[in-house]
């Protein structure tokens, strides 16, 4: 899943596919020539998707039933990998960590709504400067972000613990202590995605017609009531979009863990590592460090199923709370 940063209010709405009416299929037949052109024009993208996305998925699915030699070459082992998977503590731990990340990561959404609402105030001075500041982490490379946070979090020489020491608190080894590592990483995750989410929400808020607020204030609704009764319901498509992206993004978390928690040998010597390893990191570890590619494929296939299920649930639930219009 790639999130493109072109968030306008319209994009957000069209990002959610409208139900396809059955009639449309019949109409297509009359438009043969036009359809041929349409196919031709989408062919480059379609081909790209097929070759770089769909085909690897199919291949990975196949590999999940194989065992690999140390340098390639594989043999069919049927369901062996899945059987190991079901009984593997490491997978279970990684899954638990990933779910915790995902749930805690959702806390970033109310935070983003709050900041967006503040930045949306009509007479705020220097608003562009604030918006740029909030967006900065989004355009910074994730590895650079993780590296800087790694230094900030350093238990002995980090800025955070230095500031804490000024008020007499001895801070922990944030990313090497099993008790804090997970939360330290969630905080960075939320911080990085905040800017992107704010932009989406700002766009959503600015597409809400002013008249609603005027009418509401004539009827005597205060700022809080307006926010609850007008902004939130009309923002629900953006909320839905962001929550879907946030869940998928959290489930696929890798770079932060890789840079801040380490990989391979370094990860194994990090006592907090079992508490922060995510499913995708485990996949990477199995595929490229211990070279168990078939098993790694089985791990990501399980993750794929999980993502599909969670996203389907979200799409079902949206009917209850998302208002288009």
């Amino acid at each position: 899943m790639t999130a493109t940063v072109t968030g306008t209010a319209d994009d957000v709405r069209t990002a959610v596919p409208a139900p396809v009416p059955a009639r449309r299929r019949r109409r297509w037949r009359h438009r043969g020539a036009e359809a041929a052109w349409a196919y031709l024009l989408i062919a480059p993208t379609g081909l790209g998707l097929a070759v770089f996305y769909l085909w690897p998925v199919v291949q990975t699915g196949y590999f999940s039933f194989t065992e690999w030699g140390p340098f390639g070459g594989h043999e069919w082992v049927g369901l062996d990998n899945y059987r190991t998977l079901a009984a593997d503590d490491e997978v279970l731990t990684a899954l638990r960590n990933t779910v915790t990340y995902t749930v805690l990561g959702l806390l970033g959404i109310p935070l983003a709504v709050l900041f967006a609402a503040l930045l949306n105030r009509p007479r705020l001075r220097g608003v562009s400067a604030y918006r740029a500041l909030f967006f900065l982490p989004v355009v910074t490379m994730p590895v650079a972000v993780a590296m800087v946070w790694r230094w900030l979090y350093n238990g002995d020489f980090g800025l955070i613990n230095y500031l804490l020491s000024l008020v007499g608190v001895e801070g922990p080894h944030w990313i090497a202590d099993p008790a804090t590592a997970l939360y330290a990483m969630v905080a960075v995750g939320i911080w990085t995605s905040l800017g992107y989410n704010i932009v989406i929400f700002l766009a959503g808020m600015q597409s809400i017609p002013r008249e609603y607020y005027e009418a509401a204030s004539i009827d005597g609704a205060g700022a809080l009531a307006q926010f609850r009764r007008i902004t939130l319901p009309l923002l629900s498509p953006s909320l839905f979009f962001v929550s879907v992206l946030s869940v998928i993004g959290s489930l696929q978390l890798f770079d932060l863990v890789y840079v801040m928690g380490g990989s391979g040998q370094a990860a194994r010597a990090n006592p907090a590592f079992p508490r922060i390893q995510t499913v995708v990191h485990l996949f990477y570890d199995k595929a490229f460090y211990t070279n168990d590619r078939g098993y790694a494929a089985a791990i990501v296939m399980a993750l794929l199923v999980l993502i599909v299920i969670l996203t389907a649930i979200q799409f079902r639930l949206q009917k209850r709370w998302v208002h288009y219009g």
Binding site: A36, P70, F71, G158, H173, G264, R268, A269, P271, A272
Partner: protein, 420 residues
């Protein structure tokens, strides 16, 4: 009619795209006198300049062959190399180490050099026997030794002086080491005696053999981690952590022991002869540190290891690649290496290394060869190395007693060895 034209045009376009795509994949095969560029993969950034110097010296004699030195940091080197081999894009020539040689040779990834050595009438006796043996698999040699290294104690003279402790010297023992460690630790200044890094080669492998234990049986079939002597060798380190004479794993995860040593937070650092490059260059360590032999336990021991240059079995230019490896294993190359790099493997060229690093007692590392133990390996060393980290982390954090962790490790390792 238009429709047909349009469809035809689309087909032509698609075909053209397909042809271009196919065109990208093919490469010219390399022939005898043609210009060839060989890729040479290495992992030590400190050695990149001298590797480039060697490459330039080689190109001077072989104008048709240029060498592209490719650095991949140690942490990712083997991961990347395996992926490259799997994808058919292995470098032509690359550094090999003890833990990996048998795996690479056994799977036909690297080229056996025995015939070429015989053809060129090379004498392998110019290299230490332990190294030639390390790179010999099923009777055939697969790599020409490049350098060797032994382990010693690097110590910070300033911190020793401040604590009023005598510098470590020849013949010192575990008891001396522990007494010094107690005096050197200064919690008020955040100074520890030593960093009990979770690493075999520079740390617990040495103490295991010093305690009279072993990592793997001589025939490479059985783990030695359940041997009581081996466990003593491990306890050496877990005790240091327990006594707070070494930072705990959390601290060392945040800041690597090397960085702690280079900022005056560790009085001693167990390191290799290869560290001369780093310590000679670092502003802080340049004048403050020196080397001493490892302390003796039940006996004296240090791990000896060395790298070799190997040729990819799939290289497009095998003749040129061998020519380069042969040059790297030659005396002139060893002399260049010794001046700026690690201890060259070629016997008789080590004086250049000593002279180039005269600010340190480099002889410590050469003398250590007399009692050195070869780096423990088997056919799939990486598999049980991984298990070492998993099990020993628990002992180092104190989560599991060191005996229990070592026994569990032995069980897991024996299971892995049985599969080889």
């Amino acid at each position: 009619m238009w429709k047909a034209v349009r469809v035809g045009a689309a087909a032509v376009l698609a075909a053209a795209l397909a042809v271009t795509a196919a065109g990208c994949g093919s490469e010219e095969p390399a022939a005898g006198d043609e210009k060839v560029t060989l890729s040479y993969a290495v992992w030590d950034k400190n050695q990149v300049p001298v590797m480039e110097e060697l490459a330039a010296a080689f190109t001077k004699d072989h104008p048709n062959i240029t060498i592209n030195v490719q650095l991949t940091p140690w942490a990712d080197y083997w991961t990347k190399l395996r992926a490259a081999v799997t994808g058919g894009a292995a470098p032509d020539v690359f550094w090999m180490n003890g833990p990996n040689i048998q795996l690479y040779a056994d799977n036909g990834v690297i080229m056996p050099l025995a015939d070429k050595v015989a053809e060129a009438k090379l004498d392998l006796g110019v290299y230490p026997k332990a190294l030639v043996d390390l790179y010999t698999f099923e009777g055939k040699v697969y790599g020409l030794p490049k350098d060797f290294d032994t382990v010693g104690v690097w110590y910070n003279k300033e911190l020793f002086d401040a604590a009023g402790v005598k510098y470590p010297a020849d013949g010192w023992t575990w008891a001396d080491f522990k007494a010094a460690a107690a005096k050197l630790t200064d919690p008020a200044k955040g100074v520890y005696a030593v960093g009990a890094n979770l690493a075999g080669q520079e740390y617990y492998y040495n103490t295991i053999y010093q305690a009279g234990g072993n990592v793997i049986s001589a025939d490479g079939k059985k783990s030695g981690f359940d041997d009581p002597a081996t466990i003593e060798g491990l306890r050496f380190w877990t005790d240091l952590i327990k006594n707070k004479q070494s930072p705990d794993l959390k601290t060392m995860t945040d800041t690597a022991p090397l960085q702690l040593f280079e900022s005056g937070k560790l009085a001693m650092y167990w390191g290799g002869s290869w560290n001369v490059a780093e310590f000679g260059k670092n502003e802080y360590t340049k004048t403050r540190v020196d080397a001493a032999p490892l302390p003796a336990g039940v006996k004296q021991a240090t791990i000896i290891h060395g790298l070799a240059n190997v040729v990819s079995a799939k290289t497009k230019a095998p003749a040129q690649a061998w020519e380069f490896v042969k040059f790297l294993g030659s005396k002139p190359a060893a002399e260049i290496l010794g001046k700026k790099g690690p201890i060259p493997a070629y016997t008789g060229t080590q004086d250049a290394w000593l002279a180039a690093n005269s600010q340190f007692k480099g002889k410590v590392f050469l003398d250590a060869v007399a009692y050195a133990v070869p780096y423990p390996v088997s056919r799939n060393t990486a598999a049980w190395n991984d298990e070492e980290f998993k099990q020993l982390t628990k002992a180092y954090t104190g989560e599991v007693a060191v005996e229990a962790a070592a026994k569990e490790l032995a069980t897991q390792m024996n299971a892995l060895l049985a599969k080889e």
